[in-house]
C-alpha cells in the first residue's frame, strides 16, 4: 500500500469519528426518551417487596404456625426461625436480600442472600437500590405458650 492510500484511509477514519459520535448520541437520546414513560409505568419494586414480605408471616413453610389442621397467619413458630428453613422457603434471585430480626426477650437476626442484605446501608441511593422496612407486631409460639414480639423485615433489591 502506498503512502497516499494510507493517508486516505486515515483521513476517512477521522471523518467517520464525529459521525459515529453523533449517531451514538442521537440513538442514546431516542432510547432515553422512549424509556421514560415505560420505566415510570412499570415501577413495581415496592409492590413486589410488600408481597414477598408477607410470605414470612402467612406461609406455613416460612414462619407461620401450623397445628395438626390449620395455619395461623400472624402467629410465628419460633422453631421455624432458622437459616435453613428460611433459605428454603424464600429462594430469591441474586438481586434480592432480606434482613430479618425477631425481637422477643432477645433479638435473633437472619440474613437471606447475605451479600445483598448487607447493602441495606446504601438504601439512600434510590437510583440503584429499592428498599422496604416493616415491623410486624406478632404473636409467637414458644413451647406451649403464646407470647408477644416484633418481627422486623428489611428487604433490599438491586435495580
Amino acid at each position: 500500500m502506498n503512502k497516499k492510500a494510507q493517508s486516505d484511509i486515515s483521513h476517512e477514519f477521522i471523518i467517520w469519528i464525529p459521525r459515529i459520535i453523533v449517531l451514538v448520541l442521537a440513538a442514546g437520546f431516542v432510547i432515553f426518551l422512549v424509556n421514560i414513560p415505560i420505566t415510570k409505568n412499570f415501577e413495581i419494586d415496592k409492590l413486589q417487596q410488600d408481597i414477598l414480605r408477607q410470605r414470612f408471616v402467612y406461609n406455613e413453610n416460612c414462619l407461620a404456625y401450623k397445628d395438626e389442621n390449620n395455619v395461623y397467619p400472624g402467629i410465628i413458630d419460633k422453631l421455624k426461625f432458622n437459616q435453613l428453613n428460611l433459605d428454603n422457603c424464600f429462594k430469591a434471585n441474586d438481586r434480592v436480600g432480606v434482613n430479618l430480626n425477631l425481637i422477643t426477650n432477645d433479638v435473633k437476626t437472619i440474613n437471606l442472600n447475605k451479600n445483598v442484605a448487607e447493602k441495606l446501608n446504601f438504601c439512600f441511593d434510590t437510583k440503584h437500590f429499592a428498599c422496604t422496612n416493616y415491623t410486624y407486631y406478632i404473636l409467637f409460639k414458644d413451647d406451649k405458650s403464646l407470647e408477644r414480639g416484633l418481627l422486623n423485615i428489611a428487604m433490599v433489591k438491586l435495580k
Partner: protein, 131 residues
C-alpha cells in the same frame, strides 16, 4: 455537487446506510412502544406477582387470566418469560421460589382466546383452558 474527496458512490453508500439505520430505528422504537410490547410487559409482571402472592396463600386459591392470545408463556425454575409468538424477544420476571414446593416447569403456546389458570393447593399449578 459533492465535497472534494467524496466520490458519488461513497455519498450514495452513506445515504443508503443512513436510510437503513432509520428503518431499523423505526422498527425498534415501534416495537418498544407498541401496545403489544406493553401488554407482554404487563402480563409477565402481573403473572409473576400473582405467583409470588400465591406462595403466601395458606389455603386453596385460583387466579384466572382470560382472553389471552398469540403469546408464549414459559416458566422454568424461578423465571417466567412471556413473548409474542411471532417475535422471540421475551419479557422476563424473576419470582421467589419456595424450595419445599414442586419446581414449576411449563411452556404454553397460547394461540386462540384462552384462559390461564394459576392455582395453589399444596403446590402451585398452571393450566391452560381454551374458551
Amino acid at each position: 455537487m459533492h465535497k472534494k474527496g467524496d466520490s458519488p458512490l461513497e455519498t450514495q453508500l452513506i445515504w443508503a446506510f443512513y436510510i437503513i439505520l432509520a428503518i431499523v430505528a423505526y422498527f425498534i422504537i415501534s416495537d418498544i412502544t407498541s401496545e403489544r410490547s406493553f401488554f407482554e410487559d404487563f402480563i409477565v409482571r402481573e403473572t409473576g406477582l400473582s405467583i409470588d402472592a400465591l406462595h403466601n396463600s395458606p389455603g386453596k386459591t385460583n387466579v384466572y387470566y382470560s382472553n389471552l392470545q398469540d403469546i408464549n408463556v414459559k416458566i422454568k425454575e424461578n423465571f417466567i418469560e412471556v413473548s409474542s409468538l411471532t417475535k422471540n424477544i421475551p419479557k422476563i420476571y424473576s419470582f421467589t421460589r419456595d424450595k419445599t414446593l414442586t419446581e414449576l416447569d411449563y411452556n404454553f403456546n397460547i394461540i386462540n382466546n384462552s384462559t390461564l389458570k394459576i392455582s395453589k393447593e399444596k403446590n402451585i399449578y398452571l393450566e391452560l383452558k381454551n374458551e
